[in-house]
Symmetry: C2
Subunit: 132 residues, 2 copies
Amino acid sequence: MALDEFVYKLATEGQNFASVATVMADGSPQVSLVWVDSDGENIIINTAEGRLKTENIRRSGTIALAIADSNNHYNQAMVRGKIVEDTHDGADEHINMLAKKYLDLDEYPHRQPGEQRVIFKIKPEKILKFEN
Amino acid sequence: MALDEFVYKLATEGQNFASVATVMADGSPQVSLVWVDSDGENIIINTAEGRLKTENIRRSGTIALAIADSNNHYNQAMVRGKIVEDTHDGADEHINMLAKKYLDLDEYPHRQPGEQRVIFKIKPEKILKFEN
């Protein structure tokens, strides 16, 4: 596992949210809160085609995330990294898996008609940790 | 009060964190989690001189924040806005006030020698709300 263990645990255990920061076309920042996952090397998020975040990530190829322990916000990691994978493959199954993790549901309940899910895998380049 | 009431409550009630997104000199995004406040018109954060966030905010003059209800992360607001005030005035008293709100301490316990606190007031230009 190449990913820092503390970051891996934040991304995979509990029901922790990631704050995902991207950059708009005009150079200003944008941020949203998302579910998060990891494959042990990369941080993984699951978004959808047509979203601001998706467009911003593709334009710049970079992303920043902050993941906080939902039980103790002072345990947190801030990560800056590059997109190493951008795929539809497995994205529907993956959002259902996240729905299980975060909502204890077998199927993602917020799917919109025609929505196409997207998986982004982010390879961390800078990690800042606060462990309490 | 000019600020949206739902956003105002997220910023002032409970112990909710704001995810603050800024843009680095190289155009990539940066994000960190901070305490948050509001004066009823602007969202207020308190940071320090010399921090990456402080430099990034001054360079671009723009900022994005996501504030989630710590008791229910699905109550959240995402805000993009402009810095309308950048001041040292009252910043020490203000960080002590935030220490009271977040830690129930009369004085901010993490002050570093020589640290100069900075208040940024952010006027929202775009607000996206998820109310559950």
